[in-house]
């Protein structure tokens, strides 16, 4: 995976996470427990992806 792709994916995860935090809070206010778990799950997975992609980027960048 190239460095450009890494950048793209990381920026994308930020966008996704901002949206998910917003949705999670809204679901929380609406007491929609299932949705909270889904949104929060997506957010955590996407944060994890960001981390993995970062490691990959580091490999290429500091080779």
């Amino acid at each position: 995976m190239g460095k450009k792709t890494c950048w793209g994916i990381i920026i994308a995860t930020i966008i996704i996470n901002v949206i998910m935090v917003q949705w999670t809070v809204e679901a929380y206010y609406g007491r929609e427990y299932k949705s909270i778990l889904i949104y929060s799950g997506v957010s955590i997975v996407s944060a994890f992806i960001a981390l993995l992609v970062f490691l990959q980027w580091r490999k290429v960048e500091y080779k």
């Binding site: 935090v21 909270i36 944060a47 994890f48 960001a50």
Partner: protein, 177 residues
């Protein structure tokens, strides 16, 4: 070109500004604020946002999910003429609620803490709306949805039941059509 300044920069070991241009570059800043640092911050942001949702899911899993609702008497229908409303607490003593007999003769009940900043909402019978005086928030009395002003979410709906002239609260819904 005989100005002294101009000449100065042609001299050996001069301190002329035009020669020492690199002085405005700060090597430390260059190492701190660069593309790599930016990407690291971006990853940090993404992870922080992801982690920020964890408390919500933990709470959801611990089941702040509401228990079964009790059936609680609110008021006698005879004591509540059209256009009147009465305050009660449901499902706990900490949840103020409003039972409204609208000018059209419908019975409606909502938790009365405004969904903006929790001010108490009251029934304004001349306009047939629920009004929050704090920041002029308006809610539709027929479905509890915000109509105007800062509130964005609907008022929690209290399900009611009328039995032998007595109004009971039997449940609550947070999201409702």
């Amino acid at each position: 070109m005989t100005c002294k300044k101009k000449l100065a920069r042609n001299q050996k070991d001069t301190n002329d500004d035009m020669i020492n241009l690199v002085d405005n570059l700060n090597q430390e800043d260059d190492l701190k604020y660069n593309r790599r640092a930016f990407l690291k911050t971006a990853v940090g942001t993404s992870v922080a946002l992801g982690v920020a949702t964890i408390p919500f899911s933990v709470k959801a899993m611990l089941g702040i999910a509401e228990k079964n609702y009790e059936r609680v008497e609110i008021a006698k229908l005879a004591d509540l003429p059209q256009g009147d409303s009465v305050t009660f607490y449901y499902p706990t003593d900490k949840d103020p609620a409003l039972l409204i007999h609208t000018v059209n003769g419908d019975l409606k009940a909502y938790n009365s803490a405004c969904t903006h900043l929790m001010c108490p909402v009251f029934y304004e019978k001349t306009q047939d709306v629920l009004l929050c005086p704090c920041h002029a928030g308006y809610f539709d009395v027929n479905n509890g949805h915000p109509k105007a002003g800062p509130p964005q979410r609907e008022l929690p709906l209290i399900e009611i039941e009328v039995d032998k002239g007595i109004v009971y609260a039997v449940g609550r819904q947070y999201r409702h059509g």
